[in-house]
Symmetry: C2
Subunit: 358 residues, 2 copies
């Protein structure tokens, strides 16, 4: 059997709490399905900075490169807001993405029927919602050079960043999107701002080119401002949306929030070999950290995604997803997704319930 | 009496139809309130390109510079999609913004109580919604240099744009936002991506600096991805949102769509002297152009905004807004905002109704 070595990165804020429950679930399916998964932990983000002076210590990066998959909680918090950009917790996350070449970020926005009430949108607008956002994660304006803040001749300062993509970068994320669409509704909508930004003119052109290799998948294009509107107006029109790093950051969060239960949504960040990092879509929620009330389900579902995409353990993934659904059917909810008539439970109780359902 | 010379730019798509109704309304209040407004028309956008080879002919720019205010319909459409970026209809609009230094774009997102049903959000989430988005309009990545598509040494192409702001650009839009907030709920939320983009680190810093001059106004900051989520989750938390050109494009469209009636929302683009260009928030809707069914109310309300902000004619502005409200009370709707029990009318009938109500 192949090695299955998982690196656990709890991170900051609620990270350690939710990851603890997800690891219990991983251990359980590991035993039940005899997966042979081993795991170890490492520091990342603000907690890594506090301990080592770096948000991405060498030791963590080395372990990450050796791992077959990574499970991340979340990074960041107001505690580190004053730090120089180069050592902020987010740099730990961005450093992992970039060093491991995790260019393909898959962010599903799915409405769980049991949680339909939690959405701020009308039920008929979101019932059955199932979108996949494919976000380019290692290029674009997040990593473009030159960047910085410089002083002009007149003594004023100027801040600048560079939004840049080359053909290969666009091509490989296009393939990710088309391949994902093949397993779903066979429709890709590429999001750009090609009426203003040259970089997205190239983006659009390469999407068209790659589309020719997937004649069974339909490609359409939409401007990013219109996409933001259409997500609010009629989100079910989308199957797969593919876009760059910055637009993807914005649109995937909006899409996740349409479901009203971002605490339920996992994500995967994959490299060309399908190795990847898995994490909840939500952040480190410093306001509720340490209170034992955070929702661990997005992290638990990230374990399922990890088993499916990187560890070739589809049955175990199915079992976790079924267990989560079962727990929701029982009416158990953490406070972020609770509505009238539900039993509100804490992080650990929710973990217990998923374990029991497995 | 000062001169009040208005330049009318019908533009493309539904532009000419909706502007025609707005001009009738302008003529009516001009007479009724003896405003002494004169107006003339000029070409812009795709229709200007078709006639002159340029989306912003010299003659139009000269007239625009001389005008006290500009009323624009909309520009663009699939007909011109294949054109080189430099002569696309959008360049007409961007050229006007930039040449007239219309850096301050005010985009209200208001829910008309009569149209509460039209929103895709639950009534309790949007009832009473009244947000003002202040978008920087002549800088940022829309105009940053260098930009383009170049061929790399390996033969591949690369697209690139530059997201850049200097202190003065940020400072003047900050003042716009704080001044606007003073006349409203006295809260400004500045939107950035300061955990990743240096240019927005400077943005955030200058916002803080300018805030000191407005001790009666509260300043907060939010990351753009979170802002997109919060607009969906709980939009009423915002009073004034201020942001750069690109984020403003995306967020203002999302905010407008929250109301479900983007066909109702006007916008103003002002320079340092308060001279400005007024236009509906919606686009040129080529799919319904020429059918006589487009909603002219956003353009009519843009006339009201113009009278208030640039032509010092508050009473006339109030009268138009009251007339629009009256027409909605009568149950008249264009098809984009109609729900059960409404009388559906066309563009011209809607214009007639507003004139009658005046
Ligand atoms: C924490 C931050 C750097 C990150 C991003 O902007 O990519 C986050 O918002 C995300 O979407 O994963
Ligand atoms: C037409 C286009 C160039 C324009 C923009 O992106 O600014 C439009 O979307 C807007 O918001 O006014």
């Amino acid at each position: 059997m192949t090695s299955r070595n998982v690196l656990i990165l709890p991170g900051d804020g609620i990270g350690p709490e939710i990851v603890a429950q997800a690891v219990r679930v991983l251990d359980k399916v590991n035993e039940k399905f005899a997966l042979g998964v081993t795991h170890e932990s490492a520091l990342v983000g603000g907690s890594a900075y506090d301990e080592t002076g770096s948000p991405l210590p060498e030791a963590t990066l080395t372990k990450a490169k050796a791992a077959d998959a990574i499970l991340l909680g979340a990074v960041g918090g107001p505690k580190w807001d004053g730090l120089d950009m180069s050592v902020r917790p987010e740099k730990g996350l961005l450093g992992l993405r970039s060093n491991l070449d995790l260019f393909s970020n898959l962010r599903p926005a799915i409405l769980y029927p049991q949680l339909a009430d939690a959405s701020s949108l009308k039920p008929e607008i979101v019932a059955g919602l199932d979108i996949l956002i494919v976000r380019e994660l290692t290029g674009g304006i997040y990593f473009g050079q030159p960047r910085g803040i410089r002083t002009l001749e007149n003594g004023e300062r100027e801040g600048f960043n560079t939004y840049v993509y080359n053909e290969s970068e666009i091509r490989r994320i296009a393939h990710s999107a088309f391949i994902a669409a093949r397993q779903r509704g066979k429709r890709v909508c590429s999001i750009d701002k090609s009426n203003v930004l040259e970089v997205t003119v190239l983006w659009k052109e390469i999407m068209e080119e790659v589309a020719k290799e997937y004649p069974d998948v339909e490609l359409s294009h939409m401007l990013v401002d219109n996409a933001a509107m259409q997500l609010v107006r009629a989100p079910k029109q989308f199957d797969v949306m593919v876009t760059g790093n910055m637009f993807g950051d914005i649109l995937s969060d909006a899409a996740a929030m349409l479901t009203g239960s971002i605490g339920m949504l996992p994500s995967a960040s994959l490299n060309a070999e399908g190795r990847g990092m898995y994490e909840p879509c939500h952040g480190s929620a410093p306001d509720i950290a340490g209170k034992g009330i955070a929702n661990p389900l997005a992290t638990i579902l990230s374990v399922a995604m990890m088993l499916r995409y990187s560890l070739d353990a589809k049955d175990a993934a199915d079992a976790i997803e079924a267990a989560v659904s079962n727990v929701l059917d029982q009416g158990l909810r953490t406070s972020d997704i609770a509505s009238e008539g539900n039993k509100v439970v804490g992080t650990e109780e929710m973990g217990n319930a998923v374990l029991a359902a497995l």
